[in-house]
């Protein structure tokens, strides 16, 4: 399983959209997550530790955005299960909530 360190992308994760500022959730999804999912067939462990902190919009856009981009929910939920967040265990719960919200919205 490929490990992806968010800190390789940025130590200061930014806003939701690219047009709102640097190191956005949208940029992380497009340049890191989607590419790595394709390369590794969804076998990813995203390491969240080491970054300054995450705004909720970044988390929603980066991970919930995968569902809105058409990535199969089984793959995204597996990525949620494999999240590594020793420093802030609540991040794993929040990301899973955003993904489930996106799934519910898409299926409604």
């Amino acid at each position: 399983m490929k490990k992806i360190f968010v800190t390789d992308f940025s130590e200061f994760p930014g806003p939701r959209y690219i047009n709102l500022g640097p190191d956005s959730g949208e940029l992380f999804r497009k340049t890191v997550l989607l590419r790595e999912i394709e390369k590794n067939n969804g076998e990813l462990a995203v390491v969240l530790d080491g970054a300054f902190g995450y705004g909720s919009s970044f988390l929603d856009e980066a991970f919930g955005g995968l569902i809105r981009d058409g990535v199969p929910k089984e793959i995204v939920l597996k990525i949620c299960e494999n999240l590594v967040s020793e420093e802030d265990p609540s991040l794993k719960l929040e990301i899973t909530q955003w993904v489930r919200d996106a799934i519910a919205h898409k299926e409604s």
């Binding site: 806003p15 802030d88 609540s90 929040e94």
Partner: protein, 160 residues
């Protein structure tokens, strides 16, 4: 040859040694109990100090988030909010380690969501009676009133 019966001096010696052994055993047991009590009290004090630190971190986070959203010329930035949320997480993790209760992750998620969701794109200040402000206060109050942040002399209170 018939054995001679024990003399009064021998019986007195046995009784004396028995009392001595019982006395030493009682003293050792007393020391052990006292040591356990002192250790338990020290641990409880650590837990209560840790509760105080977590409550302080929570109230700082709440005040800062309120100020960020409602004050027109606030000096609070989104980085302050993230830094204070991290301090709150660290304080809660420390407490969780000491009292063996699970982290109140759902409350911590609610606090971050209400304080940071769309904070880059939402126009500020917002009204002090807006839904976001109420939600921050509500989430903060729920964590504050939870058993996770309640001081107790019970052996190990159940979380929430």
């Amino acid at each position: 040859m018939a054995t001679e019966p024990n003399s009064g001096a021998d019986i007195g010696s046995i009784v004396g040694w028995t009392f001595a052994f019982v006395g030493v055993a009682c003293t050792l047991w007393g020391w052990r109990v006292r040591g356990q009590q002192q250790k338990w009290l020290a641990k409880k004090k650590d837990i209560h100090d840790s509760v105080d630190r977590a409550i302080k971190a929570l109230t700082e986070f709440e005040d800062c988030a309120m100020n960020f959203w409602t004050e027109k010329d606030t000096k609070i930035t989104k980085h302050h909010i993230l830094a204070l949320h991290r301090r709150l997480i660290v304080a809660c993790k420390q407490l969780s380690e000491l009292n063996d209760n699970e982290l109140p992750n759902d409350y911590l998620v609610d606090l971050r969501k209400h304080a940071t969701y769309e904070y880059d794109s939402t126009k500020r200040p917002i009204s002090s009676d807006s839904k976001r402000v109420s939600s921050i206060a509500l989430a903060s109050g729920r964590l504050l009133n939870s058993s996770f942040l309640t001081k107790s002399w019970k052996a190990n209170p159940k979380p929430r």
